[in-house]
């Protein structure tokens, strides 16, 4: 399998009045062709920032301080503006958390599609663009007549499908989905995940699924990266991450989520909460919350270790 995306030592900072928010601090991540990579972590740990960095969509004052983002071996961080534009939508598609606000309310669905197509294929005719949009909609299970409607006339699930349609219309090979189902109801969420699974096969997609819902990744992801405070603390195949989590953070995270199918009487608690990213703890960022913290943890950042097919950053696995 070829690496479609390889992120190396990425650091993204937000310099603000009171200091610098180190939203992503030395993250490493690889996505292979055709796989679904789940990126999980608590709110505010830098998942979205990481996702946005891939397409260089960070808002000021956010900027990539250091690191490489290799897409098919090409470094996105060093790409020119033109190449980036071609990349966005054309090669890598991205969908966001809130489908309610991800479509321009003043433009009809049709206009969204035409504009997207036109941007990447300058000479495409309106008729052909429409035809392609219609085909895309039907493959997403939406009747093509709705192309003429405006976003506010659609339901949340439909809007999210349209977002995906807009992303896939140019046949990209990587889809970054940033919490695509958070705003949806359980049943619609399940429908959407099924759709994603289906599309992945049909379009031969690689997907980076960002979420804090471990249930979602469990159903879809091939591999899972666990993020904490701007870094990836553990990466591994989905099954083993759930079965034998190595990092104490992963363990705590898994223990604190409810599983309807299991018969355990109580949830386990994870102490404390996410630290301030302006002045993160020294050494291993997780040590203040870690039940198995040692002296060394507060002093030095652990190197990545390969254990059981996982890559884990923890002094326990030196």
């Amino acid at each position: 399998m070829a690496r479609i995306l390889h992120i190396e030592d990425l650091r993204v900072h937000f310099p603000i009045n009171i200091g610098t928010v180190r939203a992503v601090e030395g993250a490493n991540l690889t996505i292979e062709e055709g796989e679904v990579m789940g990126l999980v972590g608590e709110s505010g740990c830098g998942k979205s920032t990481l996702g946005l960095s891939i397409l260089r969509l960070l808002r000021p004052p956010g900027r990539i301080v250091e690191g490489k983002i290799l897409y098919h071996g090409e470094d996105i961080v060093r790409m020119g503006a033109k190449e980036i534009l071609a990349l966005r939508g054309g090669r890598i598609a991205m969908i966001f958390q809130d489908p309610l606000t991800s479509l321009n309310p003043l433009f009809s669905i049709k206009e969204h599609f035409i504009e997207t197509l036109r941007t990447h294929e300058k000479r495409i005719e309106t008729k052909e663009a429409l035809a392609r949009a219609e085909r895309m909609l039907s493959s997403l299970g939406i009747s093509p007549e709705r192309l003429h409607e405006y976003p506010h006339q659609m339901s949340g699930g439909m809007r999210q499908r349209i977002m995906i349609g807009l992303g896939l219309i140019l046949n990209p090979d990587l889809l970054i989905a940033d919490e695509p189902t958070t705003a949806l109801d359980v049943i619609v969420e399940a429908q959407f995940l099924d759709l994603l699974d289906d599309l992945r096969k049909r379009f031969n997609l690689s997907i980076m699924l960002i979420t804090h819902n471990l249930g979602n990744v469990a159903q879809l992801a091939d591999r899972i990266s666990v993020m904490y405070c701007g870094t990836i603390v553990e990466v591994g195949p989905a099954q083993t991450i759930f079965d034998e989590p190595l990092h104490p953070y992963t363990q705590g995270l898994l223990a604190s989520i409810p599983n309807i199918k299991l018969d355990e009487p109580e949830l386990k608690l994870m102490r404390g909460s996410l630290p301030d990213l302006v002045s993160p703890p020294s050494g291993c960022v997780f040590h203040p919350r870690c039940p198995r913290a040692m002296d060394v943890c507060s002093e030095e950042w652990p190197k990545t270790a390969a254990v059981n097919g996982h890559q884990v950053n923890c002094w326990l696995y030196r």
Partner: protein
């Protein structure tokens, strides 16, 4: 049998649709959103009843109706067997001490310009339960109890200076300061982070024991019900479609909607695969609900009669009721 603390009988809430000037001139009949339509259930002293449903199914409205924050269109609420409608103004005040609510969004339910101490102590001031000094003492002790420590330090803070988890604790403290015996928790953990959720749930259970509370636990997440509820009621478009003991409903769901809902809950286990296909479409708008059984357009076992006839709740097991014609006593169960 234990005492019925709160009973709801045929509760209805119809919101008139917002209408334009023109409509008011020309159209005479009113259109309504039937947010809560003929809902009945009761909550025993000391138990936790879960009220579950998708967004817009009328959960919050039910909660508000019980507290009398909204006037009901029909039906009644009984507290310890006595109809709230018959309450005098004074009784009503008394009732406000006994029943409390915790809202979904802790930040929004605290006034940004009122300090934490003031906010928690305010119910005492309103009900004249304590003077300024004792009020502060009570507040500090309850703050400690909900885990807001150091309490004297946090007492003077404002909501925006607190973390999400702390805010939710403040809201809980405020709800408990008058020593109520019934608390409605309206999605208290929906806004919270994974790790915080577990903490809040645990706190709630601890307080329940300590204060001898009864909860109506409103949520859209069936998975969390498992840890806290004794019974659950499933709502769909303003109606209760199934109600029963938690274990029974989870292991033997009768209504196809309950079934789907249980099936749709994401399971944090890669091995698990869903058995049924998800129903198509989304929850219909409440002002234009489908005729007959509300769920029939999305139901995989719907029959023609479902389109025309409205089912009612019927008993299908010990304390287990369901509103489905196909699966109920009229149909055969497999």
């Amino acid at each position: 049998m234990r005492e019925e603390l709160v009973t709801v009988r045929n509760l209805k809430k119809h919101f008139p649709l917002e209408k334009g000037f023109f409509d008011r001139l020309l159209v005479r009949e009113h259109r309504f959103v039937k947010a809560v339509d003929n809902v009945s259930f009761s909550i025993m002293k000391g138990e936790v009843l879960g009220l579950v449903g998708e967004s817009g199914s009328g959960k919050t409205t039910t909660g508000r109706l019980i507290l009398g924050l909204l006037p009901a269109t029909g039906g009644e609420v009984l507290y310890r067997g006595r109809s709230v409608i018959s309450y005098s103004k004074k009784d009503m005040e008394e009732l406000r001490e006994r029943m409390q609510i915790i809202f979904q969004d802790p930040y929004a339910s605290l006034s940004p310009r009122m300090s934490i101490g003031k906010a928690i102590g305010h119910p005492l001031a309103i009900h004249h339960l304590a003077d300024a000094k004792t009020s502060k003492e009570i507040c500090l002790s309850i703050m400690e109890k909900v885990g807001l420590s150091p309490a004297p330090f946090l007492y003077r803070k404002y909501p925006h200076q607190l973390s999400g988890g702390q805010r939710q604790r403040v809201v809980i403290a405020r709800a408990l300061v008058t020593n109520p015996d019934f608390v409605i928790a309206d999605e208290p953990i929906a806004m919270a982070d994974v790790s915080v959720r577990a903490m809040i749930l645990e706190l709630m259970m601890k307080l329940k024991r300590e204060f001898d509370l009864t909860y109506l636990f409103i949520t859209h997440d069936l998975a969390t019900c498992k840890y806290i509820c004794d019974r659950i009621a499933i709502m769909y478009l303003g109606k209760i479609v199934e109600i029963g003991p938690l274990k029974e409903v989870f292991s033997r769901p009768v209504h196809p909607y309950t079934e789907t809902l249980l099936d749709a809950v994401p399971v944090p286990d890669p091995r698990f695969r869903r058995t049924h296909p998800m129903p198509k479409g989304e929850i219909p708008s409440a002002f234009n609900p489908p005729p007959g059984c509300n769920f029939h357009p999305r139901c995989y076992i719907a029959e023609t009669r479902c389109r025309n006839l409205e089912p009612g709740l019927e008993k299908v097991g010990e304390d287990h009721y369901v509103s489905c014609m196909v699966r109920g006593s009229w149909g055969s169960r497999d």
